[in-house]
Assembly symmetry: C2
Homo-oligomer: 467 residues x 2
């Protein structure tokens, strides 16, 4: 037993300090792209133990990487030569108040478990993405996770009222309020959310719950092109009374990629279409949502705006529509070498981006193949490129092209997955230089030793050629 | 002409530097509670002039107070011995994009003018409060203003996508994006919003617009007590399909205060009731909202949950209902001495707070009178107390009692008006000490000279007896 293990065991109890082979799950991310050998894995039971681990790390100048459900895509939880601080044992739902529609939770609560607990009260926690059965509250807060329902319910930041954070030096920042208005000084809550563990470790939160919809209506909608999609979304929103909760885009190649992996699945339409949308409406007031939806879609079909539409006739059909969409990561990572990106554009620039990016990538690597899938209502594209060979320089060049076009079209190189390691290069290249300076100044003020999640999120220099 | 005036005139042009008697409007706030003699009033035309003024101030160690529509209630724009930097000349609406439903505006645009411009496109800018005809975008962003529609559309922070900020040293922080997702580093946008000019001067923004409702239904609703109000709100939300945009509370004393000032106004109901609610529903989809509303209210009336209800039968009746509610500040400040507060509580603690606070205040000043009005859907109470005599110590003691009870009931001493000068004492007394330390660290990192709006927002020390 090393000295570090011994001291951590004194703080946490020996069973909650993992070393050697026991650390295996923490040495590689699920996509297999990021690897690192931690010093130890510390699994504290409460915020005081978190604070004690941070004080120990500070005294010894050791790095600490806060780790949650390990479902991220950008290497943000990689911990080479650092202490992994896993929040998974802090997993209590402390309170659900159905009258105020809030939940008080610890950082280690599984996202889907919070939703299941809310369901007992007729409520829901609306954050929805493929990994919600594994992702933890601490992680979705630290990355400001998004997903398929952001259009209606917002991202994680929009779902959080209060926060408890242990700072780098072990001080506890107590912002655990359940208030809808609180203008008492700087917005430290939103600063901590999405900070990827650079400024502190989130240990607990007050989250908003929403009424569980009384009705849902879900459809696959086909279009000849994406050009009219923004207008279709506006029409759907207005005609349904803002009932659109999801507006997801899958091109033909995505449908084919899904069928290749899941031969038991069915085609969404009788004929293939270039644009396949998964659209879901939801309402808390029971009415005739499916009827309304059918009426709107019929009008759009007659006007030639859409080419076909199929409304799910059962929960099983609805689940099949979502299973196809949620297979996105599986489809992307089924082939290697792969590079996955996550960009956002002004909503009505998505069609133009997709037209322009493909020839630009083929100019770099004529043999590459590409695939897109989009939270179209948010202008958020997950763009996958399979290069013709496994060459780090080639992959970097392809990534750089995707980022550059997105930024050139007034978009961002990082929409919802965060920066971690994989977006350090575009952070250095494209982020407003003053914004980087301000981030570094805040980081230096709150973590002067730089012990929290070093080497992520903030590039060391602008235009660093090594990144 | 002083040297300062001359140098400012070189930057801005002589007509845009005001001194002496021309500064009169900037020497006192509209409530008459805060006074100060500025060194000069600078009215820059663009962000480069803002930066030049800040560099000048930095070089000379002079304080700069950013000033917008001067409709605030907390003294945040008072400028004793400082340069007033007024953003009112930067008043262009640069762009309205009806397809993306966004507006690009400069800080000096009047809130109501943005809404009027959006209306030309069938859209609206939903921020709604009494002073929206005078308040400017820069001010509502700097204070994260709220108002009557926060329940449905959120506060100013929720309505902002992008921001341009000139930092204390003249650097320009460019976060002017129109994206619904952008996880590229720390959330500097939300840090700047609500920072009351401590961290930089907001010069432009990208704001969200919403579809203008196709239908509204507005009612006055009477209840015997507030105890069932939270349940009523939940019922209304669920039964209307989340159509509630305003849920405002006025006690009987408020109705009487309004009638005393406006004898031409009418009683809301045939008989007086202790609890008077202004409830508004809105929907983008034309249907029969008034019919739905009537049905819900009839059910609630028959169940004995509410005592009476009157749905506005015309736009004139609706306007009259809102005119009564919006007279709140007029009613409060019609009598002196006065102290006005702005607190928030968990929504279902409001009734209990109102029961408990009055005897506590009378124990301090048996002759005081009180009045409350609340954005009840947000748990936000504007609590006014008229003490029996104009005594600073007495007023401070009454304020301290209101703040202490709110905080003791898990609320906040500052809901939507911000801190400015008037809330420095409760900031020192009640704000989490670690949060204060973090705020001071960020302030020191971004404004090391302390030239931006000094003496506001951040109390100098904890429990400073002089505050």
């Amino acid at each position: 037993m090393t000295d570090l293990t011994a001291v951590l065991s004194d703080i946490l109890g020996a069973p909650h300090v993992l070393t050697g082979a026991d650390m295996a799950p923490w040495t590689c991310d699920w996509t297999g792209q990021y690897r690192g050998e931690p010093l130890a894995v510390a699994r504290p039971a409460d915020r005081d133990q978190v604070a004690a681990v941070l004080r120990l790390a500070g005294a010894r100048g050791l790095a600490v990487v806060p780790v949650s459900g390990r479902t991220g895509l950008n290497g943000g939880a990689m911990a080479q030569g650092a202490i992994v601080l896993s929040v998974d044992r802090m997993n209590r739902i402390r309170q659900i108040n159905p009258r105020s529609r809030i939940a008080v939770v610890e950082a280690g609560v599984i996202v889907a478990a919070l939703d299941a607990a809310a369901e007992d009260h007729g409520l829901m926690f609306p954050l929805a993405f493929g990994a919600s059965g594994s992702a933890l509250i601490g992680g979705v807060l630290s990355t400001n996770a998004g997903g398929a329902n952001v259009l209606r319910y917002g991202n994680t930041r929009d779902l959080c009222l209060g926060l408890e954070v242990v700072l780098a030096d072990g001080r506890v920042l107590d912002l655990m309020q359940a208030l809808h208005k609180n203008n008492s000084g700087f917005d430290l809550r939103d600063l901590m959310i999405g900070a990827e563990g650079q400024l502190g470790i989130i240990t607990a939160a007050v989250m908003k719950l929403h009424p569980r919809p009384a009705e849902r209506a879900t459809a696959m909608v086909a279009m000849a092109s994406l050009d009219a999609a923004t207008d279709l979304l506006n029409t759907l929103q207005d005609a349904s009374g803002d009932a659109v909760v999801a507006f997801e885009f899958m091109p033909r190649a995505f449908i084919e990629g899904h069928l290749a992996l899941h031969p038991e699945a069915r085609e969404p339409f009788d004929a293939p279409h270039p644009v396949n949308l998964l659209v879901e409406l939801a309402a808390t007031r029971a009415g005739d949502l499916a009827g309304t939806f059918e009426q709107i879609l019929t009008t759009q079909l007659e006007a030639g705006i859409i080419a076909d539409a199929v409304i799910a006739a059962s929960e099983a059909q609805r689940r099949a529509m979502w299973a196809r969409r949620e297979a996105a990561a599986e489809i992307s990572f089924a082939r290697r070498p792969v590079l996955d990106t996550d960009i956002a554009l002004p909503r009505d620039a998505v069609a133009d981006f997709l037209r322009r990016i493909e020839p630009l990538l083929r100019a770099i690597d004529p043999g590459c193949e590409v695939l897109s899938v989009a939270h179209l209502g948010d202008g958020n594209i997950h763009y996958t490129c399979w290069p013709s060979r496994d060459d780090a320089g080639l992959k970097a060049a392809l990534r750089a092209q995707i980022d550059a076009l997105a930024v050139g079209m007034e978009g961002t190189f990082s929409a919802e997955h965060g920066v971690g390691i994989s977006k350090l290069a575009p952070m250095a290249r494209h982020k407003d230089p003053v914004a980087l300076e301000v981030m570094r100044a805040i980081k230096a003020a709150l973590d002067p030793q730089g012990i929290l999640n070093p080497g992520k999120t903030l590039p060391r220099t602008h235009h660093d050629p090594d990144l």
